[in-house]
Subunit: 164 residues, 2 copies
DNA sequence: AAACATAGTTACACAGGATATCTATTAATC
DNA sequence: GATTAATAGATATCCTGTGTAACTATGTTT
C-alpha cells in the first residue's frame, strides 16, 4: 500500500470551509441514527445507577409487564435472538431482580417471574428513563412526538411500501 | 443460582393474551431504536453489493464530498473516535476507493482523496441506498418526513432542553 | 418407537464504538 | 534554540449489541 507524497493540501487548510456531510444528510436514516445514539446515551446514563443496561432494562421491564413469560417469547417481543437473552437473564437473576421458575407443564421452559425487588427496580429505572427522555424532548410538541412515533412504527412494521 | 420448580404456568398458556411491551412503547426512544434496526438492515443490504458496510460507506461518501479531508476531521464529522476509522480507511484504501496522500504542509497528516473508482462507487452505493429508503418510506408524506428530520436534528443537537 | 420440533444453552463470530498508549511531528514556551 | 506541550495517526484492548450453528433435554407427531 504505497502512499502518495505530493503537495496535496488538507481540505480546510485551503478553503477554510468546514467539511460537510451533506450527502449523508439527504438520508432520513442518517438523521435517525445520529439521534438514536444520543437517545441511547441518555438511556444508558439514566439506568446505569440501577446496574442496568439497555438489554437488561428492556428485558426486566417486559418480564414485569408479563410475569410468567418464557425466554423465547421475550426474545420475540424484543426482536432479538434467543441466545442473546441467556446472559441478560442470567444477569437479572444474579441480581435478584427476576427468577427462572421451572414449569411443570413444559419442563424445558422457564416461566420468568419478577421479584419484588425487580418490580421496584423496573419502576425506578423507568421513571429515570422517563425523566431523561422528558428533558431531552422538552421542546417537542405533542403533535411532533406523535408523528415521530407513527413514522417509526410504520418503518418498523414495513408499511410504507416495505422493503425489496 | 437455585431455580424454583413450582407449578407456575407460562404466561400465554394461561391467559391466551399475547405478551406486550406496553411500558417500553411509552418511550419514544424505543420506537426509534426498533425503526433504526430496520433502516440499518436496509442500508446494509443496499450497500453490501459494493463491498461496503455502514461505517465504510459513510466514510467514503464524506471523503468524496470533501476531498483532502484529514482523518481527524472525518472522525469529527461522523462523530466517532479516531481509532475506529483506521481500519475503515485501511479497508477503503485497500479496495482502491480512496488514497492517503501525505501532505507536505503537515507531515503527520494524510489528505484523504477519493479515487475515480471511489467516486463512482460512492455514487452507485448512495443511489442504491436512496432507492432502498424510498421503498421503505414510500407511504411517508413530505410533511411527516420533514417533521422526523427536524426532530432528529433537535435531539442530536441537544435542543429540546438538553440532557441532565 | 422413531422422527421431528422446541426451549434453553453453549460457543463463536462480527460490527460498531470507546479508552489508553505509542510514534512521529508540529507548535509553544522558557 | 532547546525543552515542553499539543496533535495526527496507529496499535492494542475492551465492551455491547446482534447473529448463526450446534448441543441437551424435553415434547410432539407419525
Amino acid at each position: 500500500m504505497e502512499r502518495g507524497c505530493e503537495d496535496i493540501p488538507t481540505r480546510d487548510a485551503e478553503t477554510g470551509h468546514a467539511a460537510q456531510d451533506a450527502t449523508l444528510r439527504g438520508f432520513l436514516g442518517y438523521h435517525v441514527k445520529r439521534a438514536m445514539s444520543v437517545l441511547q446515551a441518555d438511556l444508558a446514563g439514566a439506568i446505569e445507577p440501577f446496574g442496568l443496561r439497555m438489554m437488561s432494562y428492556s428485558a426486566l421491564v417486559v418480564i414485569v409487564d408479563n410475569p410468567g413469560l418464557r425466554q423465547a417469547q421475550l426474545a420475540d417481543l424484543l426482536a432479538v435472538e434467543r441466545p442473546n437473552l441467556v446472559a441478560v437473564i442470567d444477569d437479572l437473576e444474579g441480581k435478584g431482580l427476576i427468577m427462572r421458575h421451572k414449569t411443570l407443564a413444559d419442563r424445558r421452559a422457564y416461566a420468568l417471574m419478577p421479584t419484588a425487588e425487580g418490580i421496584d427496580t423496573a419502576a425506578k429505572a423507568s421513571e429515570a428513563n422517563r425523566a431523561a427522555e422528558a428533558r431531552r424532548l422538552a421542546g417537542l410538541s405533542a403533535e411532533d412526538r406523535a408523528v415521530v412515533i407513527r413514522v417509526m412504527n410504520m418503518i418498523e412494521r414495513g408499511e410504507g411500501g416495505s422493503a425489496r
